[in-house]
């Protein structure tokens, strides 16, 4: 069996499991899973830049929010229906990531992290400042009647689950394909030894910019999908926590693996859900895990799996 076929089977298996889960678990859990799958798309977008290209951004919430508000504002103020609004959300995120990428890539390392953080903060504050349109921190609800795509009412929990699954599936297969193309392998080379990659004739800056654009657009699609499926757009999703979450999910699940983002998102979401039943200080868990991961397990769950057992894991 060739590597490509094996990887495809692995990815399809994961999707089959996610499909089966709907029929096995309670509605509470399937609701959680729908949310998790949308967030996993965000995590996969982040992973492309962090895990595969080696660029640590602290400002991805800006891209997520661009998609969310692109979608939400198009519905609220332009009266668009779901499909064109999703497209507008996608395009918003694409444009924002291209601009930010162009500017931020003039820096590297720690400066890159700070610049992305700053742009994201400015984005969040601008959403607050433009409160008359965006309703700031409070956010706005997207009416149930509007959350219809192709005649299907996505506010129903079964439709919502499968819409999330389809979205996740498309992005999951897309990433699985992308990372084994020449482009994907060059990103890994850039992560591993950028100077060597440069002297092999690869245009490092162009590759990084493309990585940021794809990463940011995926994040924006997740944001738009979240607004569509869960009926809400708010400034909290542009706050710094939402830039830290994908880092946390990807680190925990395994940076630079295709399955890692999903694993990390599932794990962390449930961990935080359980913790928040005991205390309002649930982010303590997030903090502890970040420290422990950095100290002892920088490869994350799937990363360790790949190192010890399955070296072919994509």
């Amino acid at each position: 069996m060739s590597g490509t076929t094996r990887n495809l089977i692995l990815h399809l298996f994961v999707l089959a499991m996610l499909t089966a889960l709907y029929f096995i678990v309670s509605e509470y859990h399937s609701g959680n899973l729908a949310r998790i799958m949308v967030m996993a798309v965000y995590a996969m977008g982040y992973n492309l830049l962090f895990g595969y290209t080696g660029l640590l951004s602290l400002g991805h919430a800006l891209f997520f929010a661009s998609g969310m508000y692109g979608f939400g504002l198009a519905m609220e103020h332009l009266g668009a229906s779901a499909a064109p609004a999703m497209l507008i959300g996608l395009i918003s995120a694409l444009i924002v990531s291209a601009v930010i990428g162009f500017l931020a890539l003039r820096t590297s390392g720690v400066a890159f992290m700070i610049v992305t953080l700053m742009f994201a903060q400015a984005g969040y504050l601008t959403i607050l400042l433009a409160g008359t349109y965006t309703r700031g921190d409070e956010g706005f609800v997207i009416k149930q009647a509007d959350r219809v795509l192709g005649g299907i009412d996505l506010s129903q929990s079964d439709n919502r689950y499968f819409a999330a699954l389809i979205l996740f599936g498309i992005c999951f297969l897309f990433i699985g394909w992308l990372v084994q193309t020449r482009f994907g392998k060059t990103l890994v080379a850039i992560r591993e030894n950028p100077e060597r990659a440069r002297m092999l004739g690869y245009d490092i800056q162009r590759h990084k910019l493309l990585a940021i654009i794809i990463s940011g657009t995926l994040s924006g699609v997740a944001g738009a999908a979240y607004a569509l499926l869960f009926g809400y757009a708010g400034a909290t999703f542009a706050m710094v926590e939402y830039s830290i979450y994908p880092l946390l999910w990807v680190l925990l699940g395994g940076a630079g693996t295709t399955i890692g983002p999903l694993i990390g998102t599932i794990f962390m979401t449930y961990l935080i859900n359980i913790t928040s039943e005991f205390t309002s200080a649930y982010m303590l868990v997030a903090g502890l895990i970040l420290i422990l991961l950095t100290l002892f397990a920088p490869h994350g769950l799937a990363g360790v799996l790949r190192k010890k057992l399955l070296p072919w894991l994509p």
Binding site: R198, M199, G201
Partner: protein
Amino acid sequence: MNLLSTTGLSKNYAGLQAVSDVNFDLPAGQVRALIGPNGAGKTTFVGMLSGRIESSQGTVLFDNTDITRLPAHKRMSMGMAYTFQITSVFSKLSVHENIALAARRVVKGGKSDVDTRVSEVLNKVNLTDRYDQIAGDLSYGHQRLLEIGMGLAQKPRLFILDEPTQGLAESEIDDFIALIAELSTGTTILLIEHNMDVVMRTAHYITVLNFGEILAEGTPDEIRANEAVQSAYLGKS
């Protein structure tokens, strides 16, 4: 026909003249060695050829095209390959992926065409049995060979090697010399070298740098007999 030539190439660093006004011509198909004592400006000069260092003055022509302002990756894609003074491979990736990354940019066609090139190259540098090994686990000598293999995979027109035999064992050096001899039919080679034995056995022509200027140029015999070169080097072998 000159594959590579420079006119008045200079580099100064805030008052320190590292390379002054070098006019250098490299005909296609030649094996040229660039030698000189430490601090002579060899690495700076080659840096300006490869594009890693920006020149202060002068021009660089590759295949009659002015590449003076071209960034390094563009120069490489025009048909240059470069190995680092301190071996630089993708140490966490496998041996075959290292070669594949070099080959992919130049091989048209799909995965199997790239794999064919990878096998060819690994054969040439005798690393076929290490196909799946992680590059960082190889001995230093083998990593150097791997890096040379990466250059070969690009089928370059100009192959620049910065102190390629440094750290190699005697037998590895002999293999290297044989490799260069085989390569030189078709590829132009520029070597920075300190190992005089290697220089004398491989180079068709030698350029000697001292204090950032060309001290002498000639065949190995001419250079060996040159008194100015001898006094600059004073018995280095």
